[in-house]
Structures are given as C-alpha cells and as structure tokens.
Symmetry: C2
Amino acid sequence: MNGDTSGNVTDISVIGVGNIGAAVVRSLLAAGHSVTVWNRSEERCAPLVDEGARLANSLRDAVQRSEVILLCLLDYSITARVLATDEVINALAGKTIVQFATGTPHKAESEFKWLAERRAYYIDGAILAYPRSVGTVDCKIICSGDRSTFDRIRPMLNSVGTVRHVGAKVSTANVLNLSVVGVFYEVAFAAFLEGAAFADAHGATIDEFMSVFPHVVSVLVESVEYSIPQMKSHDYTGSEASVDVHSEAMTQLRGALSAAGCRNVLMTGLVDYLKAAQSEGAGQLEFAALFETIRMSTSRS
Amino acid sequence: MNGDTSGNVTDISVIGVGNIGAAVVRSLLAAGHSVTVWNRSEERCAPLVDEGARLANSLRDAVQRSEVILLCLLDYSITARVLATDEVINALAGKTIVQFATGTPHKAESEFKWLAERRAYYIDGAILAYPRSVGTVDCKIICSGDRSTFDRIRPMLNSVGTVRHVGAKVSTANVLNLSVVGVFYEVAFAAFLEGAAFADAHGATIDEFMSVFPHVVSVLVESVEYSIPQMKSHDYTGSEASVDVHSEAMTQLRGALSAAGCRNVLMTGLVDYLKAAQSEGAGQLEFAALFETIRMSTSRS
C-alpha cells in the first residue's frame, strides 16, 4: 500500500464529458496530466481539445491510450453499452476503470465482477459536488474498492478534489452516495421548498425564511449527532419531545399547510411515519425512534 | 423605540414549567430576575422554588404579580383555557403576554385580538432550541408583534437566549417557526433516518454514513442559497441537473429502497413532486422549480 511510487499514473482517458466530465478533464489538464477524451456526441470534446486534451479516434482508442479510464457517464446501463462492445473488451486487460456513474450498489458489484473477468481493475466512486466545485477542495470524492488500486490513482484524483477511500467493498461509495445525497440531500432540499411555500402562503418573504434557516440547519446537525448513540444502541428513551408530541404537532401543521392551499406531500409522509411509530408502541420515545420504523421490514419482518 | 429605559422589566411570571419552561425560569433566575412560577401540576414547580423562584398561589396571582407573563405551554388551546377564565381576565389589563406555544398563524392573530380587547400587550415568539441550549447564545428566540412592546421585554429575553424581532405582524414568528422548524427541520431529520436505513440495509455503518453527512449538509446550504435568486425571479433555467434528470435518478433510487426492504415514504413523496413538476412542463428546469409545483394551488389555481 505505502511506498508504491513506481509507475506514477499521468495518462488518463475520460469517457463522457457532460457537465461533470468536462470539469474533471479541466482540473486534470490544469494539474499537468495527459488527458484523452471521448464522448458520444463528439462536439462536446472540441472546447476541451482546444484546452489541451487529446481526442480519441474511437472508444477502443480511448481505452488503449491510458492506463486509467475515468467513466463520467449518466448511469451504469450507458457504461455497460460503452464497455461491452467487441472492439473495447479486448483492450480492457490491465486497465483501471474508475466509475463515477450514479447507480445501485448491485450494479457496482456486477460491474466489478464483469471487469474482473476481463482482468481489469475497478474503483467505484461518487463526486459529491456540483460541476462548479470540481477542481477545488470543496469537491469531495469518495471511492471504494481494492485499496492498492485506489492508492495508485489517488494522486491523480487529488487534482479533481478531496478524495477519500470509504471501503474495500466496491459498492460502499454508491451506498453512501445514494443514502446521503440521494435520500437525505434531495428530500431535505424539497422540504426546504415545502416549508418556503408555506411561509410564502402566509406572506413571509424568502429573506425572512432564510433569516432563520442557517440556525435551524445547525440545530439539525446537532440533533442528528445527538441521535447517533440512540441509533447504535437502539435505545431512544430520553426527555426531549416524544414521538407522541411530534405526531400531534405535525398533524396540526399538516392541516395548516392544507388550509393554506400548499401541497404537503413530505409533511404527510412524516405524519405517516410518526403514526406508524406510535402504532408500534414508540410513542413515548424520542424522534430518532423512527429509524426502527423505517427499517422495519428489513430488521423485524 | 430607542432610549426607552424607564421601567426596566425585572419581574416575570412564567406559566407552564415543562422542559422548556423550567429551563427558561432557570436562565431568568441566573440573570437576577424575580420570577414567579405557576404550573397545572404544582410538583413541577418545587425544584424551581428551591432555586429561588416564587410560587404563585393561583393563576390570577401569577398574572397579578408581574408586568410580563411568559407562557410556556404546549399549544394555544391550553393557553386559551388558562387565560380565558373569569379570575384571570380582569387581571390582564396593562400586562404584556409573551407566548411561546407552537400553533398556527391564525391562532396567534386571534390571541392577539382577544388580548387587545382586554387591553393587554402581546408578543408571539418561538424558541428555536432544545431545552439543553436554553440560557446559552445557541438558544435562538424569534419574536413578532409591536416593536416598542418587544423592545421593553428584549433585555429580559436576552438572558434566555439570542433574541431577534422578525416582524410587526404578530403571526410572523409562528409562520417562520412552522415553515423552517416544523416543515424543513422535521422532514430533513426524518430524511436522514430514511437514508440511514437504506445505508444500514446495505451493510454500511452509521459511522460511514456520518463520514459523508456533514459535507452534504454544506452542499445543501450552498444549493439552497444558489436557488434563492431563482425563487425570487421565478426563473429556474440553468445548467445544473434538470428536474428530468432528478426524476429519473430518484425513481430508480426509490426502487432500490423498496428492493432493500426499506420504507420509502419521503423518497416516494419527492418522486411525486418531481413527476408533477414534469407534467407541468418544468422538466428542463433546475430542482428549485419544485417551489412552483408545491405552492401551485395558492399561486396558480
């Protein structure tokens, strides 16, 4: 693992240069790497070639030219269509494939197996940032898969963002990406909009809403940290507001959203969870007891 | 407004000494105020009396003893039952009632009117903190109502937390509390649990989940700030991932949650919103376009 300085990776092929892919190429070029690009619609490559990237003549050419192949395609089905062609398959042996597509953990596992059969190395990763942050320290990248393979490509990825290895199991980066970004981030962003719509319906401005928002985000982070030991021990007793109190308050609030003419899909979902927790006997416990309700079918069925 | 130093308020009665009320009493006592307490079940007052609070003989006594009456009861219906009794009504004239119950904006408005008819002043407020933070700078308190009334009680409330006046309209504090804490905070906390359940179902630990969480919270705050000008201008065009892209990805993810045996009520709600936005023609716009979908019945019906 340590001291593996032989054969520093400097040649990279990037397949897929949409918003994220193009930003990745630019940060690699800025760090002095030799970058080959390929994209289904070739015109997206032109500005990158002007900036110093080399255009691959074909997909096979892109795979042959570099030891490391970065895939910045939308999802795994596109990736499979790209790699699983006769012209490409024979060029894969010995290459390291770094996959940044969003997909399910199962797809990461099967991709890994398919590539292993073709004697290619595989690292699955997720870029937890908008294109505008790529190339800065604010661009967090998580990777999973074989550690020594990761260590070989790490210096290269460091020019794209702050890189961290999150597990030897190839699906871990995907699981964390889906659960934290896919579920938490996306739902919380929509909850912000649902809350803002309620404020708006009552004549409060977005600026008034935002004057309170950052503080409540801090309280959220604090509450989540407070609940971690509860989730680990499965013990949710405590003296903060109980599920019963939350359920009563949120049921009233849901009614207020309806009365104000706002859609309240997320608030309705929350009330459903709280009532389910109550019916399971968790009414006297603290809020994080919903964790058991949500994972119930896996943990208790 | 300024320079109103006459008649510094130092005597306060606190009605309702549950978890929050007791913490408020302690921070007022620590700041040297003379505090009278009343609670329906009197035994909750005993430890506070030991610490220096005075026990009211009756509700009327609690109202009569101080110029400022702080209500730390659960909701407005309890408040109404407490204040609207013959023994109390005649003691209200000239008093300043500070209301910390959670309730709808309409209830705040009607409480204000009812008290105004009895020649009492009224400030509605919300404590955006857990009891454990009360008395520290991390305890944020928002108040709305007449500004000069607020300025009179502000020095007193400063010993409870960091106090801010958010509007002359008496319901504004409530609207902000319900929309930011009630909707955003509660749904986002549940979304954290829904995401953690998915990670758990795939063998990732809570610590692995938390290793990514704080960064994603930062991205959330950044995304929300990015979307504010869009919400103000109702223009959601841009080059970040579109509603169509989010909808496709979240539909797949919802399927993955189901396949993993996790309840996915919030993710299902998010997919509903995304599909509604698509059917309204917002597919090519950025995520915050959901704001128009959510507030649709008020803004477009």
